[in-house]
Symmetry: none
Subunit: 208 residues, 2 copies
């Protein structure tokens, strides 16, 4: 039996997966959490083989959580879980170290397949997710890899703060903020903040 841990803020979904796997002979639920931080805490004692991670969590997003999970618990295979079949979600989840991407409309079979595949070390893609990854010509400009600090500053920029104000908030020099800003512009390949904010929202790097 493959031990599975669920991280999703919706009790309904947690209960749903539990129920779907109740009579399963391949997987069993060993625990669940409704947000990232309690999940990270719980996983110290519970040691599942597979973790189902929702993309949308209250405290931190599933992609970041996936990265943290893989870092702290490299043995755990992570499966992305979401309602949305957006390309960027899937690719970012995979590049964060996930072993697959599962839509919430998955059937019991798909769920079991995904878990076993992940457990074996394979990469699982639901049919729909695979279709998205293989079909459309990716004319999408590569979304920049941002550091944690850059994300932080990008968020404050999008909120309308100036370098000076950001510097005060983060207790660093305005010059440093400006450096980050310049790096951000370079990474995004744009020439001013307005375009960058739009881009960042488009690629869901920042909330709004």
């Amino acid at each position: 039996m493959i031990r599975v841990f669920i991280i999703d803020d919706h009790p309904m979904v947690i209960e749903g997966i539990k129920s779907l796997l109740a009579q399963s002979s391949v997987a069993e639920i060993c625990g669940s959490a409704q947000d990232g931080s309690t999940a990270l805490e719980a996983l110290k004692s519970i040691e599942p083989e597979v973790a189902l991670v929702d993309i949308n969590l209250p405290d931190l997003n599933g992609i970041d959580l996936c990265g943290m999970l893989k870092k702290q618990f490299p043995k755990i295979k992570v499966l992305g879980l979401s309602t949305f079949k957006e390309r960027s979600y899937i690719t970012r989840m995979i590049s964060a170290g996930a072993s697959g991407y599962l839509l919430k409309n998955a059937s019991r079979e798909e769920l079991e397949d995904a878990i076993t595949a992940a457990w074996r070390g394979q990469l699982y893609m639901s049919l729909e997710a695979a279709a998205i990854l293989t079909k459309p010509a990716p004319d999408t400009p590569e979304l920049p890899m941002l550091t944690a600090r850059e994300k932080e500053i990008l968020l404050l920029i999008a909120e309308g703060l100036t370098n000076q104000e950001i510097a005060e908030k983060l207790f660093i020099s305005p010059l440093t903020v400006d450096s980050h800003r310049k790096n951000l512009l370079a990474k995004f390949g744009v020439k001013n903040t307005a375009a960058m904010v739009r881009f960042a929202i488009e690629f869901k790097l920042i909330e709004y």
Copy 2:
């Protein structure tokens, strides 16, 4: 026992609700469907007292389905079900005849409360949904009325063009563009372009 029918395209959610209500003494699941048309078909024979309707369905959206349900089966009380707590969703669902709005992160108690309230003919709102509905003024910081020209310029600003470039594109003076920019900032009540772009996207004044 209140008979409940679930319409949601996610088996996980259906199973979740079933599981949550398995030991319930107030409600029981009498059936489920994964899309609107099969639901309408199934409801001809099954006659539930309450229907849980997801906002996002593959064939038609939950709001339209709610309207059709209330028309064909006026006795059935409809409860909207969604991950999203967007104001428009809630209000549109209610005006379509729903007896309440339930978020998918609802607990067993909330679920039971919602079902019983709906069954009694009351209007149920989850705490979060109610919070959104009751504070309209602060929630909607009057989205600015923009003139056609202003929208045009806002769009170009969001694309990263400078006043100079916009002026060339529209065959007007850069000073004029700057005037519009200033008016836009004033209307949005923000102090720089970055914040304005974010606002504009938030209020769907510009696409991205």
